[in-house]
């Protein structure tokens, strides 16, 4: 492993690949947080009064709360007064109507990210096949929503949350904070008070969304925490696959990211939510990097509904997120597939919660953790089988792979079972890459580097195969970039 170790160190010295700052004039609020900040954000977004009231109520509640202490993280004190809570690219007057009107620098940024809107436009001009609709969140304001027309044909609403607040207030009032209550936790409450934008998806009854929906978040302006919300509602018998991917430019100060994602699945509906997260992880000594504190929760409200979370977490200095499923409907299904990589001085405390309430509900958890260098990777999961959940079934598998002797892998699986007909299984293993495995490969003429890469890829394959086609390519690319040098 010495070679791999050495290469890990080389990797650490590599510049963050996506570390570039697009120099666009931003309309940014000065740092600080009080009621006026909340009012200012609301005013800038021209929100109706009920929305402002809601924010202020959340802010009042947040002030009474304290940050959680239980995660397995070495978390420095965050000064919430030193963060700017709003940043929007200038020229937002009417919002760009077509790609031509979009700031060319913005397009350049997306080009660097490798998922350009340009390509989307070209594709749009030629055919309606392929089709990833991108709702690009570029520092808090949704710049461009594509494919809306195509989606509108089916009655699907896919827009920024700000638009939804204006155009579909009834849906927002009905569903927002119905899955993650305002006071759910410290960071969720903060998000409720100061959230700037996000995505809203509504799939009407019986509609199968014809394309994968996608949002790219990108933190750009210096010192702006990004607080977005995502709300997805899948009505009876509908299906949607939603992709979320993130990259951020290199910064020295820690940036705070506290998002809230809420999913609602009605009877027979299915939501597939995939994330690739590759924010700046900080440097080897733990300086810089993004703090990623996300509350993600799905409610399977109707019978036979299904929610599937897939995540590939390679970035961020500190990750704190537990995409969860509340399985209320009978026969509903929750899935969680995760690859979490922590290298450098990254810390990840991530996992899931499966709350079984309905009869014959089932859940599957597959969590793969890879730790390298000084990375600390913790899986924290809860499987709760309520009294009413007859015939509930859970299978949990969490495996850790350790590369190097200074990293750590931890598992905290909580299992609470209150029903005798439930079947709950948990399995966890921790291992390093076996010398015999390496020997086997090398003996067949495969270099050590390739062999390690192959083994790590095999280790994560179970999760990768859950990603949608359009995303799998990028996910694998991100992982191989993150592990480059370490494993080839």
């Amino acid at each position: 492993m010495s070679q791999a170790n050495q290469e890990l160190h080389e990797l650490a010295k590599k510049e963050y690949e996506h570390g570039f700052v697009t120099d666009i004039e931003s309309d940014t609020l000065p740092p600080g947080l009080d009621e006026d900040t909340v009012r200012a954000i609301s005013a800038r977004k021209k929100e109706p009064q009920w929305m402002l009231d809601w924010r202020l109520e959340a802010f009042a509640k947040w002030q009474e709360m304290t940050p959680p202490k239980w995660p397995y993280l070495d978390l420095p004190e965050i000064d919430f007064q030193s963060i700017s809570y709003y940043s929007a690219p200038k020229k937002p007057e009417d919002g760009p109507k077509s790609l031509d009107e979009v700031d060319p620098k913005l397009i350049e940024t997306y080009n660097k990210l490798g998922i350009p809107l340009e390509e989307q436009k070209l594709l749009a001009g030629v055919t309606e096949a392929t089709d990833v609709a991108v709702d690009a969140v570029f520092d808090s304001v949704s710049v461009k929503t594509t494919y809306s027309e195509r989606l509108a044909e089916d009655g699907i609403i896919f827009c920024s949350l700000s638009e939804a607040i204006h155009d579909h207030p009834d849906l927002i009032k009905q569903y927002m904070a119905s899955v993650v209550p305002v006071t759910d936790n410290f960071f969720a409450a903060l998000n409720c008070a100061v959230f700037t934008d996000g995505s809203f998806v509504y799939i009407p009854k019986g509609v199968r969304c014809p394309m994968e929906l996608s949002t790219y978040f990108r933190i750009n302006a210096q010192n702006t925490g990004q607080f977005e919300r995502t709300l997805i509602i899948a009505e009876e018998g509908s299906y949607v696959s939603y992709l979320e991917g993130c990259t951020a430019p290199q910064r020295d100060e820690n940036q705070l990211h506290a998002a809230v994602v809420e999913l609602v699945a009605m009877k027979d509906a299915e939501i597939k939510y995939s994330t690739v997260q590759n924010w700046y992880p900080g440097d080897e000594t733990g300086k810089g990097g993004i703090y990623n504190f996300v509350t993600k929760r799905a409610e399977c409200r109707g019978d036979n509904s299904k929610v599937s979370w897939t995540q590939v977490e390679t970035g961020s200095a500190i990750t704190w997120k537990y995409p969860s499923c509340v399985l209320k409907g009978d026969n509903s299904t929750g899935e969680f597939y995760s690859v979490a990589l922590s290298s450098l001085s990254q810390q990840a405390d991530t996992g899931t919660k499966m709350i079984h309430l309905g009869k014959n509900t089932s859940s599957t958890i597959v969590a793969k953790g890879v730790s390298a260098m000084k990375g600390q990777n913790a899986y924290r999961g809860l499987v709760h089988i309520g009294k009413s959940a007859d015939g509930a079934r859970n299978y949990t598998q969490c495996d850790s792979l350790l590369l190097g002797d200074t990293c750590g892998a931890h598992t905290f699986p909580y299992m609470e079972v209150k029903n005798p007909t439930a079947q709950v299984e948990h399995e966890a293993t921790t291992s390093k890459i076996g010398d015999d495995q390496l020997f086997y490969c090398q003996q067949r003429g495969i270099s050590e580097e390739d062999a390690v890469s192959m083994i790590v890829n095999g280790f994560c394959k179970e999760v990768f195969k859950e990603l949608p086609m359009e995303f799998a390519v990028e996910a694998q690319k991100l992982l191989s970039v993150s592990l480059e040098g370490a494993v080839g």
């Binding site: 009294k387 892998a409 598992t411 299992m415 079972v417 390093k432």
Partner: protein
């Protein structure tokens, strides 16, 4: 300070002059520090992660008193009922937490073994105790550990010299008479096993009546190089009793510690089992079985520390829950940096027999070294349909088949015990606990 803590502080003040070793300044200092700890810290609440699922309100609600003297009602014949048939042993009997010399029967002790009650040991071996007492068990862990350190009123001191192999098991019997209301016993057991020594030690807890009392026990074990200790604990307290116990083990190079813990009784039973493998080549095996019904609450918290390379640990716990009972299992394995070539295996399987029973299990791994094989598994479920079908298709009625499968589930833990008489006792104890097991009880008795 809460009312109940005030009660114990004043209780301590009134007992100060009668607690064993009150002429030893080091012990008084240690007792005072522990009392201070208890009064500032109090008893653990549900907000503490380690006590998240176990409420100790029923203990807090009562003001227990320490037994002052040995109950006289107990005689040798009544002790016989609690002895294990066909088991020759060195016997120490404690009645309501007080050592009873007339009932004990140490027999002929081989050279190199010291077995004494705590008061005698504090008189005769105070230098040894000064070094070792309270050195393994951390009294700051929680209020109960501190309480025991402050009050320890009796107990056992067992010392094995280098190369000493004890042929007969040592049986420490704790009997609660229930003659007085709401008694507590605060026992302390200290076991020092020298290099290359070997012994088997049994702790057993019994009650004469179905009464309310509170046993708070701390057992400290220190194993020298290549020492091998088997520790058995059979807890058959009254169904109204409270039982809180800490077993703290310190292991030296190449030592082997095996714990078998069976929890059958008590309204609330909490066991903390911690092993610190402080040098290379140590092995730690923890086996356990908990059977609960009615409104019983059983809680096992184990922690194994792999502090040095080449240590291995093996943990196997099973639980059967019926009625409104609730069980908690928390198995923590901590592999420290540089503890390479560690091997940690853990399994916890639970059977829920009633719709009102509950299990909360958390097999927890914390690993800071890379060359490690660690695996843990936990399952909760009911009996396997295929096994049931197999038995039913061979003409065995549902109830008997059910009982047989439950028995088989639990037996895999008992069969790991090397003491046959103890195994026999537990087999029949198990049969009496499983509904409808009468059908095959004669098969077990043989």
């Amino acid at each position: 300070m809460s009312e109940v803590i005030e009660h114990y502080v004043s209780e301590h003040a009134s007992l100060k002059d009668v607690l064993p070793g009150n002429d030893l300044s080091w012990l008084n200092e240690s007792r005072d520090a522990a009392l201070q700890q208890l009064s500032t810290q109090g008893f653990p609440t549900l907000r503490a992660e380690d006590w998240k699922y176990t409420s100790i309100r029923p203990i807090e609600k009562r003001q227990f008193k320490l037994a002052q003297e040995v109950g006289h009602s107990v005689d040798a014949t009544s002790i016989n009922g609690y002895l294990y048939k066909d088991l020759d042993c060195h016997l120490m009997v404690f009645v309501d937490g007080r050592f009873s010399a007339p009932l004990s029967n140490l027999g002929d002790l081989a050279r190199g073994i010291t077995i004494k009650d705590l008061s005698t040991a504090l008189r005769e071996d105070s230098d040894v105790l000064k070094t070792h007492l309270c050195s393994a068990a951390d009294m700051t862990r929680n209020g109960f550990a501190a309480m025991n350190a402050a009050f320890m009123s009796d107990g056992a001191f067992i010392e094995l010299d280098k190369n000493c192999v004890v042929d007969l098991p040592i049986h420490l019997m704790f009997l609660s008479t229930g003659q007085h209301e709401e008694l507590t016993s605060q026992s302390r057991i200290l076991i020092l096993a020298g290099d290359n020594s070997q012994a088997k030690i049994i702790e057993s807890y019994h009650a004469q009546q179905d009464s309310v009392y509170f046993n708070n026990i701390t057992t400290e074990v220190k194993l020298g190089r290549n020492a091998n200790l088997e520790h058995y604990k059979v807890q058959e307290e009254s169904k109204k009793a409270f039982h809180v116990a800490t077993l703290q083990v310190d292991q030296q190079r190449d030592s082997t510690f095996t714990s078998h813990s069976v929890s059958l009784g008590a309204q609330l039973a909490r066991n903390d089992i911690n092993s610190w493998m402080g040098d290379e080549g140590a092995t730690c095996n923890l086996y356990g079985l908990y059977v609960a019904d009615g409104r019983q609450h059983t809680d096992f918290h184990t922690r194994i520390d792999h502090a040095k390379p080449h240590c291995s640990s093996n943990e196997y716990y099973k639980g059967i829950l019926d009625g409104h009972s609730r069980a908690v299992f928390n198995g923590q394995v901590h592999v420290h940096p540089d503890a390479q070539k560690s091997d940690a295996q853990q399994a916890n399987n639970n059977l829920l027999l009633s719709k009102d029973a509950e299990i909360d299990t958390k097999p927890q791994l914390e690993i800071y070294a890379d060359d490690v094989t660690a695996a843990h598994g936990a399952t909760v479920g009911q009996l396997d349909e295929n096994m049931m079908f197999y038995l039913r298709s061979r003409g065995i009625d549902y109830n008997s088949a059910h009982a047989l499968l439950v028995y088989g589930f639990a037996h895999s833990v008992i069969e790991k015990m090397s003491l046959a008489p103890l195994r026999k006792h537990l087999e029949s104890a198990l049969v009496s606990r499983i509904p409808n097991a009468g059908q095959f009880s004669d098969m077990v008795e043989d």
